[in-house]
Each structure stands twice: as C-alpha cells, then as structure tokens.
Symmetry: C2
Amino acid sequence: MIEMPPSIQTRVTKLFGIKYPIIQAGMVWTSGANLAIASANAGILGLVGAGSMTPELLRDQIRKTRERAQGAWGVNLPVFNRLADEFVKIILAEKVPVVFTSGGSPKKYTGVFKKAGAKVAHVTPNPSLAKKCEEAGVDAVVVEGFEAGGHDGRDELTTMVLVPQARDLVKIPLIAAGGIADGRQMAAAFALGAEGVQVGSRLAASAEASCHENFKQAIVQAGETDTFLTLKKIMPVRILKNPFYKKVEEAEARCAGQEEISQLLGRGRSKLGMFEGDVVEGELEIGQVAGMIREVLPVAEIVRRMVLEFQGTMQQLKNGV
Amino acid sequence: MIEMPPSIQTRVTKLFGIKYPIIQAGMVWTSGANLAIASANAGILGLVGAGSMTPELLRDQIRKTRERAQGAWGVNLPVFNRLADEFVKIILAEKVPVVFTSGGSPKKYTGVFKKAGAKVAHVTPNPSLAKKCEEAGVDAVVVEGFEAGGHDGRDELTTMVLVPQARDLVKIPLIAAGGIADGRQMAAAFALGAEGVQVGSRLAASAEASCHENFKQAIVQAGETDTFLTLKKIMPVRILKNPFYKKVEEAEARCAGQEEISQLLGRGRSKLGMFEGDVVEGELEIGQVAGMIREVLPVAEIVRRMVLEFQGTMQQLKNGV
C-alpha cells in the first residue's frame, strides 16, 4: 500500500470530489475501466475513454468502473466520434456522474448531460473557444496545448501561452493539459492560472493502462525529440516517430494528397500500434513529455510522486525567490 | 520616474549583476542601443542584437550603450550570421562584458569570449544541446521553446517540456525563453526550474525598441492565433500571419521547392517588415504571446508590471494551495 500525501484542495477538486487536482485524460486504447478505477482510487478523477470503444464495451467498462472505483470517475466522449450519439444514450442510461467532452462543439451535448445531473467539462485548444465552453454552460474547461499527445488543435498554441489567456477570459474552473508529466509542470500550470491539470502520457505508461506493453515500453524508450505533430492534412495528431510516422512524413514532404495519406493511414492503425503492440507499423499517440518518462509505474505511485514534487516545487519557490 | 519593485536575486542576477532575473532578447531590427540602454536602466540585462547590423553599426551601438547604460548590458551574436567573425572582432575590441550567442555551435566562440573575460550564454532549443553548451564552458544557458518568435528549432519542443528536461541535465544557471510575456509565465518558468527568463516579443512592443511603429501596432493588434512557425524548408521562423505569410503558406501547401520559396522570401524581407514598417509585404518575426500584448509601453513599465505580477503569483501560489 502506497502512502499518499495530504490533499490539495482547489475549485477543481471541490467540483469533482477528488483529493488532488488531477484528471486522468481519456486516451484511445489506453483508458479503460482499469485505468479509471486506479485513478479514482489514487484520489484523482478517472475517465473511461469512449473514443476507441464499441457502445457495448463502453457500457461494460462504465459498470465495471462504478462497481470498483472508490473515488470520482466519469467518461470522456469525443464529440466528433461517429458513434457519439449512441455513447450519449449509454452515458445517460448509466447515469455517469462526470462527462468530459472533446473535439467538437461544447454546445452539442452539454445541455443534455447537465439536465441529467452530470458535471460537464469540455476540452479545447484556444482561449476564445474556452470562453465559448463557458457560455455553453460547462462546469469546467480544459485547455490543451500543442505539446499534448493525440489530436491537437490547428493553431498550435502551447500550454504556456494558452493557459493565462484562457484564465483572463473565463471565470469557471480551468484545467491545463499538454506537457504535464511531473510536479514541476503541474506547479507551472498553477502559476499560469490553472486550478487543475489533465495528465495523459504519464498515465499511459502506467501498469493499469489498457494499451499494449510494447507501446508502454516505446514511451519509456522515447528520447526528448521523439514525437511530432503530423497528419495535418487529415486531423493533426502528435505521435511517436516510428517507421509508420516516417512513411507519413515522406508522403507529406512530397505533398501527397489527402486521399493518399488517408489510404496510407488506413483503418485500425492506432489500434494496431497502441492496443495490439505493433510499434513499427502502428500509430502511437503520445505527448512531447514522452522523453521525460523513464519507467512504467502503478497509477498511485505516479500520482504520489507528482503531488510530492508539486508541493516541493511550491515550497522551493516560496523559499528561493 | 517609475517606481520599481524590490530586487529578485537568483544565480542569473548574480552572474550578470542585474536587479531582476530577466534578459532582454536580441531581436533583428528591434534591439538596438536604445532598447539595451532602457533594459539595463530598468534593472534587467540589455542586449544589443548584432543579427541585423553592419559591423560599423554594431560598433556604434555598443559604444552608445556603454556610454548611457547604468546597468548590465551585452551583445547577442547569431553564430550562423555571415558576418559573425567580423562581429566577434568588434565585440572583443570593445571589451563587451556579456555575450549571448545563438543559432549554431556553442563551441565556436565561447572559448574566445571567455578568454577575453566576458560572461557567455548560449541559446538552444533542446535539452541535450543545453548539456553541450555546459560542456562548451558557457556561464549560463538559455533554452528557447517552440512558442518563441523568430528562428526556432526543428524539434518543436515547447517551453513547458524543454525547461524541466534541461534542468535535469545541466548544473549551470538556466534561463527560459519562449512564451514569456507576463509575470505568471515568468513564475511558471521558475516552477519548471529556470532561474531567469529571456523576454523578446513583449519588449519588441516597447517605446524604446528600434523596430517600426507599424510593426509594434501589428503586435498590439494580433489575436491569439495570429502567429505561425513557417518557412520550415529554409529555416523555421515564427511570424505574424500577414499577407506575406499567406503567400508563403500557399507556396508551402502546394509543395513549392526550396528555391521558389527562397525567391519568394527574397532579400531584406524582415527589414522591410520590422524596420521599414511594411506590415503587408514584410516578414514580421514575433512569438505566440503577441496575442497577449495590448499596448506599446516603456521598457521600465513592462519590467515593473512583470516583476509585480511575478511576485503576486508567487504569493498567490503560497497562500492558495
């Protein structure tokens, strides 16, 4: 049993009823019930990621999470997903207490989830879109910087520039995402005006993540410059620079059309990489912080280290300057 | 006379003999003697930027700065500049006390400047290159993130991800650059492990910067998504999205060759924009923080606000979490 540090309370922890102001990000092929349960039990918000699931699997994972989570949990729903309407029905039927929506308009589903009594947050890459989230009635907004893994905004705003501008525009609780894998980065996000952080990559390389062990090891082995934002013609996505990435880069360098690149990408490329463990031909979505991740750890240990380093950083800033 | 806040001492302030741990960045067509003098007199390190000068002008600006600066100052030298060797002779002959080198190997000139008794720092975009700077014998290293204006590294590491990794690799004083225009961002840089910050864009929009008033107004008017890292085939540079930028983007979108893009860029494009004030056809180098800059201010007022906000942020973090 890992001994956990004392609670850190902010508007974000009060909103979701969590011990630490940390959200486990929804990640395709990675954030199943096991990760959400481990996160909830470690005192952070656990999210089941609907993005790569069938409706049946989502229902199953929600039920499993409810049964075993001893803390706050919810679902992450990508609004642009072709099954989004079906996912919404399940989320409502299962009375999921927290929903994080992402990748589309916050207007689309916020009302229906709020009406059902859920807490709602939306993930967005721009300060002005954060304001639109607030206007749409969300309880909290996540602003996600260019350094984040997976799908990113087209404007390439980094967390450093994004968070303070969003802070100046919205009054609701603000959560920073992108480039946050340790307690120093968490403290930096707080300095910028965030009241919580959403952590993806660091929790992908956890014992409880559902992604393949080969993918976890690829994260651990990644160096400081081993991710890149690519596939800009289809939908920008940050991935590991593996042989599949090199094929995409080659095609993009010679200005291959959207059709050719779509064909090269094919279907199931992210499942192949992240879930089936083909780190050569698969698409491996991960953030720039991959270069900082040195080992696969249990979620509770990741949270413990991050919180302790956050508190240590705060103490150091207080004494040192 | 602006009343300035109390001093903030770190290893960076001690190294350069400054009141606040802030470096005014060298910027082409922008950082002449007037900006360096105003910076030195406001308690931060002022740097004359050699990049866009003739050797004669550099000598003149160094002498003017020495005569009127009542604080620490130096020169920024882009190592890749075709006149670099001539600049070095002048810097040595004029016994410039501080030299910031950038954009090339730190090995090239560090030894000669150190031997002459100057303090030397090098600007770099990668943690492992920061380590190489330390090995080359510099007194301090600046790590500059993807969000910075002007020429950026090809690996696109953001300040949030870059600074803590550099901190883990080097023992010498560490300065963060890229995305730092206010005191919250300065506090974030400190949380990440920096002991000082280098500020460009915010000081380009100052009364004392030598760039054209039209350029300063273009910065003030820029919105949150109005810069982009472009010209990747030649040398990646972050610029304002003006009509010239749109021509480059159009050419790059249809995969125009390096030669065609070089021809489109032509000669004197940055002088045309930043110094002569043609904000339509000129190249306007500026950072992502342009969207946060609302008015042109005197350097001393910019420094005063940044330091006060930095101290306020520290206080808030101390009380709030």
